[in-house]
């Protein structure tokens, strides 16, 4: 399953002010599934202490090298951003339960809804769906164009299947990303064929869940975030409230980070 190892930084590319694409060598590592993540140790000292969880954004077929797309938000990601080609990173991967691709076929349509850097796991998913020839539309939202400075690779790969919305209208449609999604659902090819996948801030996930449930429920998988200590299920620190089931809580790191909408309270 997962393993701990040291990999070399193969490349580290700034994308705008705040984003980076980091590629780390992982020869012979098990193939990751979209939605899985890695726990990266940042720095060599005891502060910061914890690994930082980052979704797998892409995995190279031949070499197994892992790509991450991340935003510099605090101490840990700032330290991470100092890594240079050839430096070593200690990471654990692949962690967590990824997206379920069950029931997806060329006859279904996948709707991927990403808020900001929530695009990372969904881009990996999109790549797999393309291989399986599942038609898809990728909705990508942010506050301003600068929040989507990483979009180059995604835009290049997805072409017309990418729909962008920004709150200030500086890129793509103006407004929340759930606007174009709603239109698509209202006007699109019929809800029955649709499968929803979402990753982003909690309010966005709640709105996507609402849209998924009103008028003929659409299966929705969401990728959640939580503060993590271990990332592999041992500490019970990362739980989110369960909806239904025996246990009141579920571990985001192992039972998630991808959940079906009905499994957790959003």
């Amino acid at each position: 399953m997962f393993e701990q190892r040291r990999g070399l930084v193969l490349s580290h590319i700034p994308l705008g002010e705040e984003y980076r694409e980091l590629t780390v060598g992982a020869e012979g590592m098990a193939a990751a599934r979209p939605g899985q993540f890695a726990g990266l140790k940042v720095g060599k000292a005891l502060d910061p202490l914890l690994r930082r969880p980052l979704s797998i954004y892409h995995q190279d077929r031949g070499t197994g090298a892992l790509h991450f797309l991340y935003r510099v938000v605090g101490q840990g990601t700032r330290l991470l951003s100092g890594l240079k080609e050839g430096d070593e990173v200690d990471f654990i991967a692949p962690l967590g339960r990824g997206f379920s691709l069950e029931g997806l076929s060329p006859n279904t349509r996948a709707l991927l809804v990403a808020g900001g850097v929530g695009a990372a796991p969904l881009y990996f998913l999109a790549a797999r769906l393309r291989e399986k020839q599942v038609p898809l539309t990728f909705f990508l939202g942010g506050r301003r164009a600068a929040d989507l400075a990483f979009r180059g690779r995604i835009a290049a790969a997805l072409g017309e299947d990418l729909v962008i919305a920004t709150e200030d209208g500086s890129l793509g449609r103006q407004g929340l990303v759930t606007g174009p999604l709603q239109e698509f659902l209202d006007e699109g090819p019929g809800r029955e064929a649709c499968r929803l996948f979402a990753c982003g801030p909690a309010p966005m996930l709640r709105e996507v869940a609402r849209l998924a449930s009103v008028g003929g429920a659409i299966p929705l998988q969401v990728s959640l975030e939580a503060r993590m200590a271990c990332g592999f299920g041992a500490c019970l620190g990362c739980v989110c409230p369960a909806s239904g089931g025996d246990a009141p809580y579920r571990r985001v790191c192992t039972e998630g980070p991808v959940f079906f909408a009905g499994e957790v309270e959003l």
């Binding site: 399953m1 997962f2 393993e3 701990q4 140790k41 005891l46 502060d47 910061p48 202490l49 914890l50 690994r51 200690d90 654990i92 939580a226 503060r227 993590m228 200590a229 271990c230 592999f232 299920g233 041992a234 500490c235 019970l236 620190g237 990362c238 739980v239 989110c240 409230p241 246990a247 009141p248 809580y249 192992t254």
Partner: protein
């Protein structure tokens, strides 16, 4: 005459248990061993201390349960566990075949719960020992109350002692004015060994949300930040009681483990550092062995408490008294 240097004897005795090596897992930081089996050979451990177990199942505290603090971790898991019956039915049998003894960490909200949990575990042979956690700071009733009053500690330990015939370890809280008093009480109640320390109660504020960071408000501080307090308490207790001490609190390297052993611990446990870096168990074991080999010390036992013996020898007589 190119004699091989013999490997040092790493065994330690805790109650009636003989451990192959002195490196244990800390309760609540190793689950029931499942997850760590991905990273390491569980048979390489000195003993496996499993998650805090209560009489009834507990759902634990609402999230957020974790906060990162300088060189440390705040947690308020709230003793989430499936309850003793399911632990005995599902978890312990899975661990039965392993070489290292299994030590079950036990908690409760009332003395009766502790006793009943211990009574049931006495019937489960894989539970080679109990570690009675009278120190969990996250449970509103229970936990703290027992752990800070010496009289209650003694009474509780005596009651558990009566129902559990195998090795009985008592885990003390550092949130007290004088840990020697609770240590004495646990020994008087019949403990075979002491584990110290559990977490210090701490908290953090979310300055954006302007509320406590943890849903539970306070949490337990673990990790390297805790280590100086833990080493001090091991030092103090080692002089106070005659039973072995399992030292823990912020161990992340062989050097850290050596501090505890030299201060008077017979064994060590690793919690938070293992969550962050599962390879720490192997590194600490190897580092301890290398330390002994390098100094030509044949048995690990010889370094336990050595810092105190050296200190007493070196000090002018009048200075040999406890400071602070």
């Amino acid at each position: 005459m190119t004699g091989k240097i013999p490997r040092p004897d790493m065994t330690v005795k805790i109650g009636s248990l003989t451990l192959e090596n002195p490196v244990l897992t800390a309760a609540g930081c190793f689950g029931f061993g499942r997850e760590f089996a991905e990273f390491l050979d569980l048979n390489s451990l000195g003993a496996i201390v499993v998650k805090g177990t209560t009489l009834r199942p507990r759902g634990g505290n609402p999230p957020p349960r974790l906060g990162e603090v300088p060189a440390g971790l705040l947690n308020a898991i709230g003793l989430q566990n499936p309850g003793v019956d399911r632990v005995m039915a599902e978890e312990l049998p899975r661990l039965k075949g392993l070489k290292p003894p299994i030590i079950v960490n036990v908690a409760g909200e009332t003395p009766e719960e502790y006793v009943e949990t211990a009574r049931r575990l006495a019937l489960s042979p894989p539970a080679a020992a109990l570690e009675v956690n009278i120190s969990c700071p996250n449970v509103a009733r229970g936990g703290m109350a027992f752990g800070t009053c010496p009289l209650q500690v003694e009474t509780l330990v005596r009651a558990v002692r009566q129902v559990f015939p195998r090795t009985l370890i008592v885990k003390l809280t550092p949130n007290v004015t004088d840990i020697r008093e609770t240590a004495r009480a646990a020994a008087a109640g019949g403990a075979d060994a002491l584990s110290l320390i559990n977490t210090l109660t701490g908290m953090a504020i979310d300055i954006e949300g302007q509320v406590p960071l943890l849903a539970n408000v306070t949490g337990g501080l673990s990790g390297p930040a805790l280590r100086p307090v833990a080493v001090r308490m091991v030092w103090q207790v080692a002089e106070t009681v005659d039973i072995p001490i399992i030292g823990m609190g912020g161990i992340a390297s062989a050097k850290d483990a050596l501090e505890f052993l030299l201060a008077g611990a017979s064994a060590v446990a690793i919690g938070t550092a293992g969550l962050v870096d599962p390879s720490v168990f192997g590194r600490v074991q190897a580092g301890l062995e290398a330390y002994l080999v390098h100094r030509g010390i044949p048995r690990l036992e010889e370094i336990c408490g050595l810092a105190r013996r050296n200190w007493k020898r070196n000090m002018p007589a009048k200075q040999v008294r406890e400071n602070g």
